[in-house]
C-alpha cells in the first residue's frame, strides 16, 4: 500500500513537471496552429538566463525566474516579428522546417556562448529540504512544481476562457478574417499569445530544470516528449494537456517501477493505445 502511495506521489510530480514544461506548446500548436518545434529552444533560453542570473550573478531564485521569463520574451519578440509571422497559416511541413532551423541555430549559439556543459539553477534552501509526507519524504522542489503546475493551469484557463483577450484570441483562431473584420487586431492578438507561450516555455524550462537539466542539446533532446504530451492531450486544450500529462506521467512512472527494462515500451505503447482510442487527442475537438 505504502509503495502504491509512494509511486502515486512520484507520478503526480512527474506529470506536473511535464505539464509545466509543455503547456506553452499547447498554446502555440492548438490556438495559433503553429507546429512549434522550437518550443524546447525557448525553454532552454529561459533556463540559461535563470542559471546565469542565479548562479553567476547570485540573484534570488524568484528574481531569476522573473528575469528568465522576461528575457526570453524579449529575445522572442524579433524572432516572432521576422520569422514566425511568415509561417502563420502556412502548411505544417513548412512550419516544421522553419522551427527546426530555429532550433538548430539556438543550439549552435548556446553551445558557442555557454559551452557544452550542464548548467544548474541553484534553488533556495527552502526548496531543497526534504518534506515528510508521513509515509515517505519528497523534495520540497517537487511540491513546488506541483503547485506551479496547478497555478499555471488555473491562470491560463482563466485567461483564455474568462478575459476579453481570451475571447478575441478564440475568435481569431476560429476565423481570423471575420475577427479582423469585427475590429480584432489579429496581429497583436497573435503576438501577445506568442509571448505568453514563450513565457510559459521559459518558466517551465526553469522550474523543470531539476528533472530536465539545461544543456545546449536540451532543445532537441526533449522535443519529442513535449510534442507527444501535447498531441495526446489534444492541442489547445488545457484540461486535455493536464489529463495527458498526469496519465502519461503515471504510466511512465509505474512502468519504470514495475519493469524498468521495458520502460520505453510502456510509454509508447500507451501513447499508441490512447491515440487509437481518441484519434483527436483526449480533449480534441472536431475540426
Amino acid at each position: 500500500m505504502q509503495t502504491i502511495f509512494s509511486i502515486g506521489v512520484d507520478a503526480l510530480a512527474y506529470g506536473m513537471v511535464l505539464f509545466v514544461i509543455s503547456i506553452g506548446l499547447s498554446v502555440t500548436m492548438g490556438l495559433m496552429r503553429v507546429v512549434n518545434l522550437a518550443h524546447g529552444a525557448f525553454a532552454m533560453i529561459g533556463g540559461y538566463i535563470a542559471s546565469y542570473a542565479a548562479r553567476d550573478l547570485g540573484l534570488a531564485y524568484a528574481l531569476a525566474v522573473l528575469l528568465a521569463v522576461a528575457g526570453t520574451i524579449l529575445i522572442a519578440i524579433p524572432i516572432e516579428r521576422f520569422l514566425y509571422r511568415r509561417i502563420y497559416g502556412q502548411p505544417e511541413l513548412t512550419q516544421v522546417l522553419m522551427t527546426i532551423g530555429i532550433t538548430f541555430c539556438v543550439i549552435g549559439i548556446a553551445n558557442y556562448v555557454f559551452g557544452p556543459t550542464l548548467k544548474t539553477i541553484p534553488t533556495p534552501d527552502a526548496l531543497r529540504e526534504p518534506v515528510s509526507l508521513g509515509f515517505r519524504t519528497v523534495s520540497a522542489h517537487r511540491l513546488f512544481v506541483i503547485g506551479c503546475g496547478a497555478a499555471v493551469a488555473l491562470g491560463l484557463w482563466y485567461f483564455i476562457e474568462r478575459t476579453a483577450f481570451g475571447v478575441k484570441l478564440r475568435a481569431a483562431v476560429d476565423n481570423a478574417a471575420m475577427a479582423a473584420a469585427l475590429g480584432v487586431r489579429t496581429e497583436i492578438v497573435y503576438a501577445v499569445s506568442f509571448a505568453v507561450a514563450v513565457g510559459l516555455a521559459a518558466f517551465g524550462g526553469v522550474v523543470g530544470a531539476e528533472l530536465l537539466p539545461i544543456e545546449p542539446y536540451y532543445a532537441l533532446r526533449y522535443m519529442v516528449t513535449f510534442l507527444v504530451v501535447v498531441s495526446v492531450g489534444g492541442a489547445g486544450s488545457i484540461p486535455g494537456a493536464l489529463a495527458a500529462c498526469l496519465l502519461l506521467g503515471a504510466i511512465d512512472t509505474t512502468g519504470r517501477y514495475l519493469m524498468p527494462e521495458f520502460g520505453e515500451f510502456f510509454f509508447y505503447l500507451a501513447v499508441i493505445a490512447i491515440v487509437w482510442l481518441f484519434p483527436r487527442g483526449l480533449a480534441g475537438r472536431a475540426k
Binding site: Y14, P116, T117, Y222, T253, R256, P260
Partner: protein
C-alpha cells in the same frame, strides 16, 4: 631532442632520402550534438600534446583533420573514414568516441594500410576486429571490475546493480557481477533502465524495496547522471546509508560543477582523475586547460587523446614517416611511458592499454570546487573483458 634526432637519422637511413612530408591524422569524434563536450576534450588532448611536443616528428609535419560524427552512427563513421583515407590521404585514423563508430571503420584498416588509435570507445571487443587497432583509453570492464572488490571490502554484501540499457551498461553490469561474486558477495537484483529516463524516482523506489545495502550504477556521462544522483539523495537513499558505487563515468569532472553538493562522497573507480598528482599531469592539465578554453570542461577523453597522440608520434618515429601500418603497430607493442594518468603500457597481445585504476571519492576543494580525490590505486590493470568473452 636526442630521440627526435635519432628518428630523423633513422628515417634518413631507411628512406634513403629524408624529405619533409606532411603526415595527416584523421580524427573522428562527436564535435557537435549531445556529446560535443567529449569531442571538445579530444581536441583539447590533441592540442595539448602538440603544444608540448611540437607539430613535427623528424622532418615530418603532423596535421590533424577533424570529422564530426555527432552520435553513434556507424554508416557515417565509415563513410568519413573512407573519405579521410582515400581523399585526404591520412596515414592514421584516430578518435572514435562510440563503439559502433570504431567497429564500422575496422574493416578498412588492412586494405588502407592505416592503423587506428581508439581514444575512447570502451567495448573490449574492438581490438579483436583488426590487428591494426591500438587503444589508449580504457574499457568498461577495466574500470568496473576493481569497484566490486572495493564494495565487498567496504562491507557491502548485497548489492543491487542499476545500469543504462545499452552496450556499455551491460558490460558494466557483467563486470561488476563477475568481480563481486568472485569476492563472495551477492548481486540481489540487476536492473536495466532505458537510456532516455528523465525521472529516476521509481528506480530509487526499486532500490529501496530490494533490501540491498549498496547500489552499483552505470550511466553515460551527461544530463542523466545529474538526475540519477539527485534522485538518489532526494529519495532519502543516501541518508538511509545505502552505499553508492560506480565507474568514474558517473562523476566525470565536467559534470561535477553541476552535480555539486549532491555528488559529495560518491566513490568511483576510473583510470584518470584531473586532480591526479604528478608533474606529467600538471603539465598536461595546464596545456589542455588552455586548449579547451574553460578548464572546468576538461575530463577523461582528453587524456585518451593525449596518449593517443603519443602513440601516433612513436609510430611516425618508427616508420620514419612512411605509410606502413604493420610496422607502426609492431613498434608500439609493449611501449611503456609515463602518462598524465600514471604509468601505462600497450599490451603486446591485445594492443590495449595497461594502466592503474584508481579509487576516488568526490571531495570539496578549498576554493569551493569539487574534484575526484584519489584514495587507492590498483596497479597495472589489463582488460578483463577480453578474458571474459572467451
Amino acid at each position: 631532442m636526442k630521440k627526435l634526432a635519432f628518428a630523423a637519422l633513422a628515417a634518413a637511413l631507411m628512406g634513403g632520402v629524408a624529405h619533409a612530408d606532411t603526415i595527416k591524422v584523421g580524427v573522428i569524434g562527436p564535435f557537435s550534438g549531445p556529446f560535443a563536450l567529449q569531442g571538445k576534450n579530444f581536441k583539447a588532448g590533441i592540442d595539448a600534446y602538440m603544444a608540448l611536443n611540437g607539430n613535427t616528428v623528424g622532418d615530418d609535419t603532423v596535421e590533424i583533420i577533424y570529422r564530426d560524427v555527432p552520435t553513434a552512427d556507424p554508416a557515417q563513421s565509415k563513410a568519413l573514414s573512407q573519405e579521410l583515407v582515400v581523399k585526404e590521404g591520412v596515414q592514421y585514423l584516430a578518435g572514435f568516441y562510440f563503439t559502433p563508430d570504431a567497429m564500422a571503420a575496422t574493416p578498412l584498416l588492412e586494405q588502407a594500410n592505416v592503423p587506428m588509435i581508439v581514444m575512447n570507445a570502451a567495448t573490449s571487443a574492438i581490438v579483436t576486429k583488426s590487428p591494426y587497432v591500438v587503444r589508449t583509453s580504457f574499457t568498461t570492464w577495466q574500470t568496473s571490475t576493481p569497484i566490486a572488490k572495493v564494495a565487498f571490502d567496504g562491507g557491502a554484501k548485497k548489492i543491487i546493480s542499476v545500469v543504462s540499457d545499452y552496450g556499455p551498461g551491460i558490460d558494466a553490469e557483467a563486470a561488476f557481477k563477475a568481480g563481486f561474486e568472485k569476492a563472495g558477495g551477492e548481486v540481489v537484483e540487476a536492473i536495466r533502465m532505458p537510456l532516455q529516463t528523465n525521472d529516476f524516482s521509481p528506480i530509487m523506489q526499486r532500490i529501496k524495496d530490494s533490501g540491498a545495502d549498496g547500489v552499483f550504477a552505470f550511466l553515460p556521462s551527461g544530463p542523466t547522471t545529474l538526475g540519477f544522483v539527485k534522485a538518489f539523495n532526494e529519495n532519502g537513499l543516501k541518508d538511509a546509508g545505502i552505499k553508492f558505487f560506480a565507474p568514474g563515468d558517473l562523476t566525470q569532472e565536467s559534470d561535477l560543477p553541476a552535480l555539486g553538493e549532491a555528488a559529495l562522497g560518491l566513490t568511483t573507480t576510473f583510470h584518470y582523475a584531473v586532480s591526479h598528482d604528478s608533474p606529467e599531469n600538471k603539465k598536461f592539465v595546464e596545456a589542455a586547460g588552455k586548449a579547451i578554453g574553460n578548464p572546468a570542461e576538461l575530463s577523461f577523453p582528453a587524456v585518451g587523446a593525449y596518449d593517443g597522440m603519443h602513440v601516433i608520434y612513436k609510430m611516425i618515429e618508427a616508420t620514419g614517416g612512411e605509410q606502413d601500418a604493420a610496422k607502426a603497430v609492431e613498434a608500439v607493442k609493449g611501449l611503456a611511458w609515463e602518462s598524465p594518468r600514471g604509468p601505462v603500457s600497450i599490451d603486446p597481445e591485445t594492443r590495449h592499454i595497461t594502466q592503474n585504476i584508481y579509487l576516488r571519492e568526490v571531495a570539496k576543494a578549498a576554493d569551493g570546487t569539487y574534484y575526484n580525490k584519489e584514495i587507492q590505486t590498483f596497479e597495472k590493470q589489463g582488460d578483463p573483458g577480453l578474458e571474459a568473452a572467451k
